[in-house]
Symmetry: C2
Subunit: 96 residues, 2 copies
């Protein structure tokens, strides 16, 4: 599922929790947090901390993947047919 907002996240977590037949207390314990926090996150709290979110996803057996959108190009790739010379130079420069 593609997650764009905290609300998406909350919906996914709840759905997954229910599918695993856990109640909020179960999940809270497994994720090492409080039931109150689970309630808030499932409601889409945007200020929840990622650390807890990641632990919660782990407790739910959910993996999180990031991918650069094809639509958005790097500056070096905007000119068609270009080699990304800047990145090549950068990575060479960083070696001691």
């Amino acid at each position: 599922m593609r997650v764009r907002t905290a609300t998406d996240l909350g919906a996914f977590i709840r759905e997954r929790r229910v599918k695993l037949a856990m109640d909020q207390s179960d999940l809270a314990e497994k994720a090492g947090t409080s039931r109150k926090w689970i309630v808030e996150v499932e409601q889409g709290k945007p200020r929840a901390e990622i650390g807890l979110v990641l632990r919660t996803l782990k407790a739910l057996g959910v993996s999180l993947d990031l991918a650069a959108d094809r639509a958005q190009k790097t500056v070096a790739a905007i000119e068609p047919g270009n080699v990304d010379i800047n990145n090549i130079l950068d990575s060479l420069k960083k070696r001691p």
Copy 2:
């Protein structure tokens, strides 16, 4: 990229930012946050809030996907060949 920890997240964000030839100030502005926050997140701050993280990923043209791990099964699916009768009943129950 699979993200398991806040450190993973930070590394990905930095990598992506550099590829897009943005500095921390650029990204902070685009994501609607402060440069200080970008610094901390790139360093793997586990208590950063997801709302800002999601905005930052958007600013970087990165999509976030969640997927239930195949390994972990729902309770209803543990018994082989079972129909997930609980979920069916639940969804019927929820209709007004």
